[in-house]
């Protein structure tokens, strides 16, 4: 691949939470490549705008040997194939569904055969592969150590995730981003702060690479693919049928926006309805006993239910990568409460029996 004329990198990130982070990564890629006399451009995907908190979005950086090659390799809105994909939150490996009709796309989908997927994670490569879709093509998985860096639209959390990712990119694409150039770019961005260059070096040294062969991965995730309606099949006035009562929107499920999911302790539930009432995504359904179960196909993991629940540890938000599917859990509780509670304790890390818990506080909601 020494005769490559250009390289394309995509950054897959959580909308709004990681918008600034993705911008900084893409910018630093271009800046670093310029140090070696290459040229490049960074841009965000049109379809993601307006971004929504948590909904997966993408930004891109394209680097080429000269302006002509850059223009030749520039994608219009979304490059169909990229050399390197960077997922700055490890729960994104469960799939990406950015808008209606998009479907749930495997994280490796745009990566070329033999390309690289970098994931910032505190998990092992094995755990990440186990949650990625079964791949038909081999690729290299790199784990950049560190949790997902989340911030807001106005206040950026400068925890050097961008520099560590830049270091990891220097490791997997040294021709385009030599380590020294990456350090120089980081120093420029950090206005001379030496610790930025140290973080680049750390990302370079600590990134763990693992080859993922064809056929590795899971089949557990839902296959969500659509045939898009063409203009000939749309109705005059672009009329769309209303949803039937009780139906959910089948063309956009939104659960890939989730980084954590609520897990319910049905034994301590007091049936107060607050989780159901305050859920902005209509994801709770009432059970015959009057409990509220989470429909994980609709839940986007905002955490409001856990906040408004008046019972301590009745609804607990748990890392999404601990779950392999969207199966509803109330059935399990109905079948065998003991087994359900054991499972609840295992995933949530809190005791299912409140009496076993440490001194009871008045209410959940504060952390």
């Amino acid at each position: 691949m020494a005769d490559e004329k250009s390289i394309s990198v995509e950054v897959v990130y959580r909308g709004i939470f990681q918008k600034t982070l993705a911008q900084r990564i893409c910018r630093s890629i271009v800046l670093a490549s310029r140090k070696k006399g290459h040229t490049g451009t960074a841009f965000s995907r049109y379809g993601d705008s307006p971004e929504r908190n948590g909904v997966p979005a993408k930004q891109f950086a394209i680097v080429a040997v000269d302006e002509i090659e850059l223009e030749a390799s520039m994608a219009k809105y979304e490059p169909a194939v990229v050399d390197i994909s960077v997922a700055v939150d490890d729960t994104l490996v469960k799939g990406v569904e950015s808008w209606a009709w998009y479907g749930r796309q495997p994280i490796w989908k745009p990566i070329r055969e033999g390309g690289t997927l970098l994931v910032t994670s505190e998990k092992t490569p094995g755990e990440i592969v186990a949650q990625s879709d079964r791949t038909p093509k081999p690729y290299t998985l790199g784990i950049v150590p560190g949790g997902a860096s989340f911030a807001g639209l106005w206040v950026y959390k400068d925890d050097h995730t961008d520099y560590r990712v830049l270091g990891a990119l220097a490791k997997v694409a040294p021709r385009w981003l030599p380590l020294e150039a990456a350090k120089q770019a980081a120093l420029d961005l950090a206005k001379g702060d030496r610790s930025a260059a140290a973080s680049v070096q750390y990302g370079y040294d600590a990134t763990v690479l693992r080859q993922v062969g064809a056929g590795e991965g899971t089949d557990g995730h839902e296959k969500l693919q659509f045939t898009k309606p063409g203009w000939t099949t749309m109705r005059p006035g672009i009329v769309v049928d209303a949803r039937k009562p009780g139906q959910r929107n089948p063309q956009y499920k939104k659960y890939t926006a989730r980084t954590q999911r609520p897990v319910v302790n049905f034994d301590t539930c007091i049936k107060c309805t607050m989780c159901w009432l305050d859920c902005p995504d209509e994801c709770f359904e009432v059970t015959p006993e009057g409990h509220y179960e989470v429909v994980y196909e609709a839940c986007i993991g905002c955490g409001i239910c856990a906040q408004v629940c008046p019972v301590k540890d009745c609804i607990v938000m748990v890392d999404e990568l601990k779950f392999a599917d969207n199966r509803d859990r109330w059935q399990d509780w109905k079948k065998d409460r003991g087994a359900y509670n054991t499972w609840f304790e295992k995933v949530s890390g809190v005791p299912a029996d409140p009496k076993a818990a440490a001194p009871a506080s008045a209410a959940g909601g504060d952390d």
């Binding site: 908190n53 009709w101 807001g152 929107n249 956009y252 309805t273 902005p280 986007i300």
Partner: protein, 348 residues
């Protein structure tokens, strides 16, 4: 099957209708309070409702790319047109029923707009609609205090000092936006005495909000409900705190809850408790410090914000509602002879 169109007041959370008329699968942010307003709005109004939506988050996020989460009929209308669309639809239904082309029954017409579509662009149309008392329609303004759909630009509802794309805090100038938020429900209530119902609500007080929507639809005529919706994207806080911020906006006295029914103003919820002295207002710093858009505030800014909110409670004619009063020497004006003209005795 006959559908019951009566909209009795909801007594408590257990009395909230279970049926969802705005279903999951809308591309709103995690913790979107405006989506919750949409859900509560149609839950309260029931299935015999036509919803019209002007451009904004609740149009773009919910119904992009040939898909919809609405169970009730929904139609898009232009950015400043929610008032006109509500009035036109109500008038159209009335004519079709009079001509016998539609069964004569109660159909609720609700047009929603954001703060940009309602308080900036569409204010004139809403004002005009509220003077046409022969048509039954509700305009709902969901106020997330910015043009949130296009990534947070300044609107006339953006609070004092808040950061938006148009008002970034800089090194030379800390506050790029120093206007006080417009008092839309108070303005509309003061200016449209023939509208039978104008209210300010918040989805953090869900039952209160649903009852306001029901009362507006029950009373009929052109009505208006304004909701304050915490927006995790533009206000910059973790989505799980949406309800908490709604509660704080009310408890700090920044967003008073009230309704004006046939010209009589009732304070509701915690706002009533604060006015009656049963609850102490919280300091605004509790509200401000939870949001990234106020992260640049220094003590001086917080003090100014607090002083302005205090004024709403100490100086206004009706706390939080009518933003003026009479000078001290004219206090007698507030105690004028309130008898109708023919009963008034000739003053000395």
């Amino acid at each position: 099957m006959a559908i019951d169109t009566a909209l009795p007041q909801i007594k408590g959370v257990k009395d909230v209708p279970y049926e969802e008329l705005f279903v999951s699968g809308h591309r709103t942010c995690q913790g979107c309070e405006s989506a919750l307003v949409m859900r509560h709005m149609v839950k309260a109004s029931g299935p015999r409702t036509i919803v019209l939506g002007s451009t904004g988050c609740m149009y773009v996020a919910n119904t992009t790319y040939y898909t919809t989460p609405w169970v009730v009929p929904w139609m898009h209308t232009q950015l400043g047109a929610s008032g006109s669309a509500a009035l036109g639809t109500a008038a159209g239904l009335k004519v079709l029923m009079r001509k016998g082309k539609l069964k004569n029954e109660k159909i609720n017409v609700i047009a929603f707009c954001g703060d940009g579509g309602g308080a900036d662009m569409g204010l004139g149309a809403i004002s005009a609609t509220l003077t046409h008392k022969e048509y039954d329609c509700l305009v709902l303004l969901y106020d997330n205090e910015s043009y949130a759909n296009t990534d947070i630009q300044l609107s006339s509802m953006t609070p004092y000092g808040a950061v938006t794309t148009f008002s970034p805090s800089g090194e030379k100038k800390r506050l790029m936006h120093t206007r006080w938020k417009k008092n839309v429900p108070g303005m509309l209530a003061a200016g449209h005495p023939e509208s039978r119902y104008i209210a300010a609500g918040c989805a953090a007080y869900a039952v209160d909000l649903m009852n306001k929507i029901r009362r507006a639809l029950e009373l009929g005529g052109p009505t208006f409900v304004h909701t304050l919706d915490p927006c995790p994207k533009g206000w910059d806080y973790h989505p799980q705190y949406s309800q908490e911020l709604g509660h704080l906006a009310v408890e700090c006295g920044i967003w008073p809850l009230y309704e004006v029914v046939d010209g009589v103003c009732n304070l509701t919820g915690p706002t009533r408790q604060i006015a009656e002295g049963r609850k102490k207002r919280k300091p605004v710093i509790e509200y401000l410090r939870r949001q990234g858009r106020f992260a640049h505030f220094v003590d001086e800014d917080v003090e100014h914000f607090q002083a302005e909110v205090d004024k709403m409670w100490t100086d206004w004619l009706i706390p939080g509602v009518i933003p003026f009063t009479v000078p001290a020497k004219d206090q007698a004006l507030l105690k004028i002879d309130r008898k109708p003209l023919h009963e008034q005795t000739k003053s000395a």
